[in-house]
Symmetry: C3
Subunit: 266 residues, 3 copies
Amino acid sequence: MLELRLVQGSLLKKVLEAIKDLVNDANFDCSATGFSLQAMDSSHVALVALLLRSEGFEHYRCDRNISMGINLGNMSKMLKCAGNDDIITIKADDGSDTVTFMFESPTQDKIADFEMKLMDIDSEHLGIPEAEYHAIVRMPSSEFSRICRDLSSIGDTVVISVTKEGVKFSTRGDIGTANIVCRQNTTVDKPEEATIIEMNEPVSLTFALRYLNSFTKASPLSNTVTISLSSELPVVVEYKIAEMGYIRFYLAPKIEEDEDETKPQM
Amino acid sequence: MLELRLVQGSLLKKVLEAIKDLVNDANFDCSATGFSLQAMDSSHVALVALLLRSEGFEHYRCDRNISMGINLGNMSKMLKCAGNDDIITIKADDGSDTVTFMFESPTQDKIADFEMKLMDIDSEHLGIPEAEYHAIVRMPSSEFSRICRDLSSIGDTVVISVTKEGVKFSTRGDIGTANIVCRQNTTVDKPEEATIIEMNEPVSLTFALRYLNSFTKASPLSNTVTISLSSELPVVVEYKIAEMGYIRFYLAPKIEEDEDETKPQM
Amino acid sequence: MLELRLVQGSLLKKVLEAIKDLVNDANFDCSATGFSLQAMDSSHVALVALLLRSEGFEHYRCDRNISMGINLGNMSKMLKCAGNDDIITIKADDGSDTVTFMFESPTQDKIADFEMKLMDIDSEHLGIPEAEYHAIVRMPSSEFSRICRDLSSIGDTVVISVTKEGVKFSTRGDIGTANIVCRQNTTVDKPEEATIIEMNEPVSLTFALRYLNSFTKASPLSNTVTISLSSELPVVVEYKIAEMGYIRFYLAPKIEEDEDETKPQM
């Protein structure tokens, strides 16, 4: 039997909004340690990994490991019926082919049960090793989101270049070129407004803006985003989920065969 | 001659927004007692009845009973040109084939006259007898609106079941089932937030969500909605219009030939 | 070399939003006295004239007169990437076929450079003589915008008639007629809420609402609009740009061959 009670139900609503456009169907894996998901996007280019640790739930009962195959679009439709202040409980009986989402209003005057059919989904769990990155940038998630959206109006790809002084986002398109530089800045009023760069060596990598824009739908989950870059590894775009876990997005850099075409000068 | 001056002109704007999508053309009936309308929706399934009593107008002159055939879409276009704080006056000369809507801004600096052609519309006025209902539910109009909208994302029909403890809204669709229970609750801070159930006997009836969703467009007129249910009668969904009258929507229950298909278990 | 630094960068954003739907491509002319533009709309019916005087810029360097041919849709895409609080600098090297827009965030933590290709655009600069107008109406820009939008839901053209008492906007369409009168009103709490009429002789002219609605996109630039009318001249719709200059729109009146058709009675 599975019964997970999440007082801050809006977190689960935001998680679904963050991933439902990227991934159609996925297995949610539930074990004693937490509620997690790992899935490729529908074009098999990006990977999303979600973890909500058991300690973050008010009540967490998971008698045996189970994997629930879910259509994320349908799950999102159901979670949209939860109020932002509702407590959400996820329930499944052993061997059942359904999962139930229960929404309780803060006053307990309104209780909703949404029952959804589960699916069989083939998936292989990729081991993602801990790695050393050439550069790690932490910045306000709203700023990163704004930059990706702005650059999309000019070009299709972005070159992210990190130096000690700052991080530069560049693109090029039919109408011209754009370069946006965010300087390292730790002397801010609120810690979440800081832009902090940890760099072992300079790095400059090219990514498809389409995917980055999709990742930024996780911005409501966290005020800050962490971007980990290495020339031999996929970039990791991570949004922490308050004291519970994270959503991480992985995306391989584009290889620059036609460097002159796609890479703005720096 | 007809001259009706409504200081709170926004009420008339809201009335039109509430009914214009349900009814295309209708007769507004004006008599010494008030300004009213009764019309079937364009698919002849639902009935809407509006009453604005003469006492609610600052000035009310209606020399003889008249019936004005009006295209509600066009009337809505004109009323959208009135400011929310404007005073609205409805004027018609005897025997004229036009009606004039006058909008006065609160400061009297801006005066608008919109003149609209009237239509000939055949209509029969149905007598709606006062009836005894098995159950009457009063609840916040925003809550009822939210429930109808939420359930529409899952299924096409809703079963409304009333017991002493509460009212349950249930639906079923391709992606699963949903049950939402609102408990009787009279100990609230604001009277309009109460959910109050008067029940003579338990009742459980099925309705098309499409129509209920249309009715909820009247929510801006009132903080509360009253739903009167009886197994032999159409449901009445009523929104009171502050000290002036009401909009009532009538809808026959669906007969459950295929009960297993459409009725979620309770 | 050209370098124009505008601390209130949002002004330039608003200017582009005001004209980009009316004009596709235009030359921005830069001289020692200011940054200006004069262009016909794409259907060659309306004329727009923009002036931003050099004194309004924090830094203004223009070594020699230059004319930059710009696609306004592309320029608008780039300016949308500037924050509302950003400082915008326009830069061009002598003989270059590009212009650069630099956006600096107020904290200087984020610096963006957008480089756009210039175009060759044929244009003739029309001399617009100072003229005497029969009537000049100054009114809140939001009110004028609202009236043009409201009347567009009824008809295609508007008759603007000015008398000493006020200004009347009239239209006629399939569903009826509309007249909106704004009275002269100088006793208001805030000067920008006044409606002020200077009249030498009464005037009544007809205009296409489509163009007036397009002009009102300049409303965010100024709380008031000035409408100058004369029976022998195009109307001038002017929005002042705080201490820097103006946007003026010119539109010829429609000639009333079919006066009965298009002109509502007054």
